[in-house]
Assembly symmetry: C3
Homo-oligomer: 138 residues x 3
C-alpha cells in the first residue's frame, strides 16, 4: 500500500510554545487508511520538535524551563554571529527534545498509551511552520 | 506482510532503574517472521524511555546520574503541584533520554552494531509497565 | 518491495567531530528505488549520533559545546573505571543527541525541510565507523 503523507500547519503566538497536536495526528492516521504500521511525525524545521509526554499541560512549562536552563538564549553561540536571527538556542533545544517521533498504528488508529500525548514544541515561533505526518503500513 | 505487534511487560524494583531488554526484543523480531524491515521499540508510558547504548552495564548508572543532575527531582515543577504523584522529573528525564527507538531488521534479525544494547530506562517504576514492539517489513 | 540497506563509512580526524552527511544519505535513497516510505539513518556504534539541524555549519560547534558542558569528559563515571577507553562522555553525549533518525521519503527523494541537514556526530572518533541507511517503502 502506498504510504500516506499530509502536512499540518501551525503558527504559535509566542517564540517558545508547546502545543498538543494529538487530535491532528489522529485525524491524519484515520484518513490514511493504514490499519497496521508506523506513523512518522516530522517537523520540516530545525527549531521545532515533536515529542511524547504526559497529558498534563503544565508539564509543557516544565520542559520549556528545563530546556531554557540547559540551553540559555544568547550564550555566546557561533551561530548567533553567523545568522542575523540569532536563534542558536532554538536549534539546540530542538535537538535535545528529539525533533521527531515514530508511532505505532494498530487497528487503524494511533496505538498510544493511556496518558500519552503528542506535543509540538516550537522554539522560534510566530511564523508558519509545517509538520509532516507520513503513515506507512497495510 | 502484516506488521507484527507484541507487548513486553516489566516491573522495576526501584523508582529509577535501567534494564537491558535486548534478548526480549530479539525474540519478538524472530517471532515476527520479518526478514527485512524496521522494529519500533515503544514504551506505552511517559516516564519510560528506550535507548541504545554500549554493553557495559555500569554506563546505566552514569546515565541515571547525568539525568538526575540535569533534571533534579522536585525542583519546583508545575506538574508536581498539578499531579499528586509529583513525578515531573520522571516525565522530563524520559524526553531527554529519547522515549523510543527504531531499529533495522536484516536477514530476519535485529541488525545492531557489535556492542549495541537496547535499554529500557524507567524513571517512575515499581509498577507494571509495557513496551510495544512493532515490526514492519517483508 | 524489499527494503534497501547500505552501510556508509566515515573516519573523523578529531575525537569529537560533526559531519554533514546529507549528500551521502540522499545518494542511498536514490539508489534504493523507493518512491514513498521511510529512511532510517542508524549509526552502528554507541558513541555516535545522527541528528537533524540547520544548514549553518557553525551550529555544530555550538552543539559540541553544549554537550561537552552537559556531559563533561572524565567526570567520575563508573564506565571510565570499567573500560580502559574511558569514553563514558562519548556514550552519554550520543544518548542526549538522539542516536538515530527516521526520515520521510517522497517522490523518490528524501523529503526534508528547506534548511534541514543530516549530521553525523562522532564523540569517540579517529576510527572507522559505519552508519546504516535502511529504506522501507514502495
Amino acid at each position: 500500500m502506498t504510504p500516506y503523507k499530509e502536512l499540518l500547519w501551525f503558527r504559535t503566538a509566542k517564540r517558545m510554545e508547546i502545543l498538543n497536536i494529538t487530535p491532528d495526528v489522529e485525524e491524519v492516521v484515520g484518513k490514511s487508511g493504514v490499519r497496521e504500521g508506523l506513523a512518522l511525525v516530522y517537523p520540516m524545521h530545525t527549531s521545532s520538535a515533536v515529542y511524547i509526554s504526559d497529558s498534563d499541560p503544565s508539564l509543557t512549562e516544565d520542559l520549556a524551563s528545563i530546556l531554557s536552563r540547559l540551553v540559555p538564549r544568547g550564550a555566546g553561540y557561533h551561530h548567533d554571529v553567523a545568522d542575523p536571527k540569532a536563534n542558536a538556542d532554538a536549534h539546540l533545544r530542538a535537538v535535545l527534545a528529539g525533533h521527531h517521533v515514530t508511532l505505532p498504528v494498530s487497528e487503524g488508529r494511533l496505538d498510544l498509551g493511556t496518558y500519552q500525548t503528542i506535543y509540538y514544541a516550537e522554539f522560534d515561533g510566530k511564523l508558519d511552520k509545517e509538520i509532516q505526518v507520513k503513515v506507512l503500513g497495510v
